[in-house]
Symmetry: C2
Subunit: 216 residues, 2 copies
């Protein structure tokens, strides 16, 4: 397998997952700033045009971070960051979906439609008029989650999971691109500080992060 990596938050999410699972994969670097992920050869294999990609042993290009997580979990079940039983896995998938829809998806859309709109304009539909609303949506989602975190220290009750990684890498990225978390969200900040202390957090940063100051 080959991990198509890039200086972007979703590849970081996969890097952190691999570190937590103690898996090492050969890496191919993709230069997203230069549009390498929009080259015809890349799009032919990955019509979503996004990173990360996991090139499987049979040559198949598997895209979408969540699908890659689950594939690697099926191949290397322990440690499971999804769950050990069908019920645990179901609960994890449920929370992942909630967190993505309410927080990380609007956060990433705000980034694409805002600070880097000029770079992305010929790659995707850019909706700058949605930025203020999407920012409110992210804040609304974080408020909702902050209340839930009054009762637990991780997003899926009692278990550290991929959902913590998905949210942490999104919020850490957001903190440097104009979307800091409201300081009043104390439970969320306590959760974030605990995530930030995991050994996988700094190690998962891309070498470019040291140059640009962006957390990806």
């Amino acid at each position: 397998m080959i991990f198509c990596n890039a200086a972007r938050p979703n590849p970081r999410c996969l890097r952190m997952y691999l570190l937590e699972k103690r898996l090492t994969l050969p890496i191919r670097e993709i230069d997203v700033d230069a549009g390498e992920n929009r080259h015809p050869e890349f799009i032919q294999h990955n019509p979503g045009g996004q990173v990360p990609v996991l090139i499987l042993d049979d040559g198949f290009w598997l895209a979408e971070t969540g699908a890659i997580f689950q594939y690697l979990k099926e191949k290397y079940p322990v440690p499971s960051l999804l769950g050990a039983t069908p019920e645990e896995r179901a609960e994890t998938r449920m929370w992942q979906r909630r967190i993505e829809r309410r927080i990380t998806e609007p956060l990433y859309a705000t980034f694409h439609y805002g600070p880097v709109a000029a770079m992305y304009r010929n790659r995707m539909l850019i909706l700058p008029e949605c930025v203020p609303g999407l920012e409110k949506l992210v804040h609304d989602g974080l408020l909702w989650l902050d209340a839930l975190l009054a009762w637990r220290t991780v997003i899926v009750p009692h278990r550290f999971t991929v959902v913590d990684i998905v949210l942490y890498t999104a919020l850490d990225f957001g903190s440097r691109v104009g979307q800091p978390c409201d300081n009043g969200l104390r439970n969320l900040h306590a959760w974030f500080a605990a995530m930030d202390n995991r050994p996988s957090a700094p190690v998962s940063l891309h070498p470019k992060a040291a140059v640009t100051g962006i957390r990806y």
Copy 2:
């Protein structure tokens, strides 16, 4: 298990999935129009406040359609609408994510922010200024998919999967709430007609659909 059902497209998606899998579950009807899914007891069990929900045998409330699909697949593997191998399941999850992000999520958001905004205003953040942009996003996603469907008759190559169900129920719903598919998208219309001919398509409609004319 109990299936918390409602006259909405995502519960229909689960109804169609159950029919295709030949599974029958006891049903509890939730009146979303009356806000039953926002009652404190419902929110306590399902902080996402959405339908459908699958109440498991141990009393756990499993929400999010995609998580319910995967749970039922783990419990009842055949016929598998996700895939028979880790590679097939990975491919299905990848396509499901692409279709949701590019088409069904903005389609449902357009509905919530548009025709029924008054009903939803005290349930969620409403962003009416995003409606024209989201409509463009849906159209852009459908154009992208239409080109891909020139080479195949189902969304995941060679296999009928949950992804077909997810998209079909969303587009059928959209067709009656102001978001018809552009007639020029011929491959997509051919795919839709084939889906529409599956015996599960009409049978999965909620009894209320006959009264309101909405396809859910």
